[in-house]
């Protein structure tokens, strides 16, 4: 049955449970009702008194009355009016009250042009301020490198504190004072601690909280080129709207996708974008470290590939088509291909793909029994945000981890060594923490849980009720897409071919096998056998510096592509802007062309990887076969490519079924008394994010985290591929016997989370 009420005589449909304002906004009638404190994700408060409507009762006994639309439950045949003079007067006078202390500094305010207060003021027709007394002023706080505060602009709608405390469960931001002296901020100056602090910029309806990173290279929003994109910084695949101007990316905002990120975005997603504009980003093709013409690099690379002794290495950091393009080229040349850099990561991908359909974040937020394994906030912060929303609705949370993580403080924390996780996870089906729930959900950080743990998770899920769901997260955007065609020992085969000198050249796409990718230690030991390494990438990694040939590629907002997220959801992103990159020589004449004539700019900047791969296929005279294979693989995985504006399509279960036979991976045994490794990450740590200076200024110190009962200042760890000398950081929250290091450390040692490690403790440096 269709439910409707009448707003100014127009039929407005609603879903039972909605309030009048919500329904009016959904029906596109929000121009009739101005509002401030209501936010679709934060609900109604009735504090600002702005959303007045006049309600006509059905009987003649009661007179019509003015009420707040956000507090009025929508009901059938409700008669509401906003076009009458008294409602309009109410709207205008309320906004005049709210504007009493507002500094009216729109010309110098970053929010100008995207300001809800500005829109509502114009909409309601308030133009003359009757109050002529002094305005209330505040001292602004320094809230760190990401968010800028200008308290004088505040209209006390409380959206910020409702987001920060109630939705994001943050504890270092609040509302102080009362009456005319209400202010919002921290106890003292300092960076906001929440991984979701950037959302203050979007929830604030005026310019109190503005984007501090955007300020560095500011442009008025009406001058921004914007378009639909997908966040490339973790497996969640939040929808974003990048904004660019004059060929450079300026900011990232949230793009609403109710099934994934809703109205919000984490700080990594919002502030990690400067990899696109970083000085270190490779923009010119390079040959042996020297900038070179693209044709020269391509011909050199093609002649290498013609020798028939090349291996191909894809990456879960790159999008689906690029990985498939590389796979298709390897296929055409009958060369070995791997999608990930180590057998361990391959087993991990295989076990992730073998899990049944993972819950969307919307479903996680609706769960009532949640088990989180590992530090979810530092891998996929928005998944952690969905858990917080579920907690707000009364869910019971249990966290299994080797340290008291941010989420562990909000629920029951069970301290565990990583090697004990597979065992504990396999017994979770009978555990009281999941009993009695309507919708149990298990969320794991794949790396902490490891392949064996993910196998145990799949088996546990089979014992749980049919509606129980599980999801595993990594901080790469396209693990599913990259690993789909290469999950059967391909990495081992590639490394074996290199070891046995069957190949002596490697073509990598967005991978960093000599830097910090999993298994980098092994690649480093194998690298003397490499005569040359070619790389297609957009960041200046260690592999890029060591590469014989480097072909720069377009960043994600500069090209179209597909990512497959942790649920197997295929999402498309579109090019948002065209980068202008300087070229040294004219491609046509082979000589410098005067800059004044505009000839020094390559109109498109670095091309997408598919362009390079297509050119290589042409030079190798396999273009037709390459294109056919690429089209076939793409059609196989994704018969109808989704539109960038759509919520994406899920990989069908039939395609994932072949992974269900994935066997139990072997796990290292940790003897009692041995030290074992766990991974330490923070929410801003990720390969692309590492060049974002503002975000990285918040990074925790690099070191070895261990329980404070260890009396040492330095430690040396010994692994099969090398050793690591790090300062010891005592950490109260760590489980005894566990050492947490970052991924770079694992890469240097050649070890994985849950592995035993030899350690020598030292005093002094």
């Amino acid at each position: 049955m269709k439910h409707v009420f009448f707003l100014d005589g127009q039929e407005t449909p609603f879903i039972p449970g909605q309030n009048v304002l919500e329904a009016a906004i959904a029906a596109g009638q929000d121009r009739q009702i101005p509002y401030f404190c209501f936010h679709p994700a934060l609900g109604s408060l009735g504090a600002c008194r702005q959303c007045a409507v006049k309600m006509y009762p059905h009987d003649s006994k009661h007179p019509p009355r003015i009420t707040m639309a956000c507090l009025l439950p929508a009901s059938d045949d409700l008669q509401l009016v906003t076009l009458e003079a008294d409602v309009h007067t109410e709207h205008r006078e309320i906004i005049e009250l709210l504007m009493t202390n507002h500094p009216l500094d729109c010309p110098v305010c970053d929010e100008g042009g995207q300001c809800h207060l500005q829109d509502m003021t114009v909409q309601t027709g308030h133009s003359v301020r009757h109050y002529s007394g002094p305005k209330r002023t505040y001292r602004n706080q320094d809230l760190g490198p990401l968010v800028y505060q200008e308290m004088n602009r505040c209209i006390t709608c409380y959206r910020c504190v409702r987001f920060y405390q109630d939705a994001a469960l943050g504890e270092d931001f609040g509302v102080f004072g009362s009456r005319n002296r209400v202010s919002f901020g921290r106890l003292e100056d300092g960076p906001l601690e929440s991984p979701f602090s950037g959302n203050l910029v979007e929830v604030c309806p005026t310019g109190v909280f503005t984007d501090k990173v955007f300020r560095h290279d500011y442009v008025r929003v009406w001058d921004l080129q914007q378009g639909p994109s997908v966040c490339p910084h973790c497996a969640v695949g939040c929808n974003t709207t990048p904004g660019a101007r004059l060929g450079t990316l300026r900011r990232i905002r949230n793009r609403q996708n109710p099934e994934i990120n809703g109205h919000f975005l984490c700080d990594r997603g919002r502030y990690a974008f400067p990899y696109v504009t970083a000085h270190s980003r490779p923009l010119q093709p390079r040959l042996k470290g020297e900038t070179s013409r693209q044709e020269a690099v391509l011909r050199q690379l093609a002649s290498r590939l013609e020798e028939g002794r090349s291996g191909f290495l894809g990456s879960p950091r790159e999008d689906l088509q690029s990985n498939l393009g590389l796979f298709a080229l390897a296929d055409c040349l009958h060369a070995p291909f791997a999608a990930v850099t180590s057998s361990w990561a391959e087993a991990l991908a295989q076990q992730c793909l073998a899990l049944p359909q993972a819950p969307s974040l919307q479903e996680v937020a609706a769960a009532d029994r949640i088990v989180v394994i590992g530090d979810l906030d530092s891998i996929a912060p928005m998944a952690g945000f969905a858990v917080r929303q579920a907690l707000g609705r009364g869910a019971r949370l249990t966290v299994l981890a080797s340290s008291r993580t941010g989420l562990a403080r909000k629920g029951d924390y069970r301290p565990l060594r990583p090697s004990a996780l597979p065992d504990v996870v396999s017994r979770l089906a009978d555990d009281p923490c999941l009993q009695g729930g309507r919708l149990p959900v298990l969320l794991a950080t794949a790396e902490t849980l490891g392949p064996a743990g993910l196998f145990a998770l799949r088996k546990t899920l089979e014992k749980l009720p049919a509606n129980a769901r599980a999801g595993a997260f990594v901080n790469r955007p396209n693990l599913f897409g990259a690993a789909y065609f290469a999950a059967d020992g391909h990495t081992e085969r590639l490394q074996q071919a290199l070891r046995q000198r069957e190949i002596h050249h490697l073509l990598c796409l967005g991978a960093d096998p000599l830097g910090e990718d999993w298994g980098a230690g092994t690649w480093r030991t194998l690298s003397p056998g490499l005569d040359g390494l070619a790389l297609l990438d957009m960041v200046d990694s260690q592999t890029a510096r060591a590469a014989e040939a480097l072909l720069p590629v377009a960043a994600f907002p500069e090209r179209a592509g597909l990512f497959v997220n942790y649920e197997g959801r295929i999402q498309a992103f579109a090019p948002v802007y065209r980068r202008e990159a300087q070229v040294l020589h004219s491609a046509v004449h082979g000589s410098a062309f005067p800059e004044a004539a505009g000839g020094m700019k390559h109109p498109l900047g670095p091309p997408p990887p598919l362009f390079w791969l297509g050119r290589l296929a042409e030079l190798l005279q396999v273009h037709e076969a390459w294109q056919q294979r690429l089209d076939f693989y793409l059609h196989f995985l994704c018969p109808t490519a989704p539109d960038p504006e759509s919520p994406g399509v899920l990989l069908p279960d039939t395609l994932r079924a072949r992974f269900a036979i994935a066997a139990l991976p072997t796990t290292p045994t940790v003897e009692s008394g041995q030290w074992e490794l766990d991974i330490f990450r923070w929410y801003g740590g990720e390969t692309l994010a590492d060049t974002a200076e503002d975000l990285q200024s918040l990074a925790p110190l690099r070191g070895l985290r261990v329980h404070p009962d260890v009396q040492a200042e330095w430690a040396t760890l010994q692994g099969p591929c090398g050793q690591l000398h790090l300062p010891v950081i005592p950490c109260e929250d760590m489980v005894q016997g566990v050492i947490a290091i970052d991924q770079e450390g694992f890469a240097e040692l050649g070890l994985y989370p849950g592995d035993p490690v030899e350690v020598t403790w030292e005093q002094g440096s």
């Binding site: 504890e171 609040g174 102080f176 004072g177 106890l187």
Partner: protein
């Protein structure tokens, strides 16, 4: 106090009052202590301290004089009382007088509209006040001879 509360957070007002009584005002150390005892975040405790005007976050004199400046008292001359008290102290409202004996704070509202203009010295409300009565009161406070009735 925490043990007597249904949940630890519920004891916060009493704890803050007790801490203020012992220390004169809620300093940062007291704030952290109250947070630890109740399990609330320091920000939440600060929110309460700044919301309730009877809780003080700045050092005050031996006596605190809260002069009501709500509408009823304003109409009855609260501004004159406030001006006289400020002049006596020689410092701004909220600051400790030069003698260290007194802090004057404008306050809304002590609920004594029937005896406007009213004020409150420490825990005792007095009114109606006039120039002479205030002069006497200030002299008593300076001489340490004022006693609550």
């Amino acid at each position: 106090m925490v043990a007597e509360s249904p949940v630890p957070e519920a004891a916060i007002s009493e704890i803050l009052q007790a801490l203020q009584k012992a220390r004169g005002y809620i300093d940062d150390e007291a704030l952290q202590l109250a947070a630890t005892m109740t399990g609330l975040s320091p920000v939440k405790v600060e929110e309460l301290c700044t919301f309730y005007s009877l809780l003080l976050r700045e050092p005050v004199g031996i006596h605190v004089m809260r002069v009501c400046d709500s509408i009823a008292c304003h109409m009855a001359g609260a501004q004159d009382i406030l001006a006289q008290a400020r002049q006596h102290c020689g410092v701004e409202f909220g600051e400790v007088s030069r003698s260290g004996k007194l802090t004057v704070i404008p306050h809304v509202c002590i609920g004594m509209c029937d005896r406007a203009p009213a004020l409150m010295v420490d825990d005792e409300a007095l009114g109606p006040m006039d120039k002479q009565a205030l002069t006497r009161l200030l002299a008593q406070l300076e001489a340490d001879v004022w006693k609550p009735s």
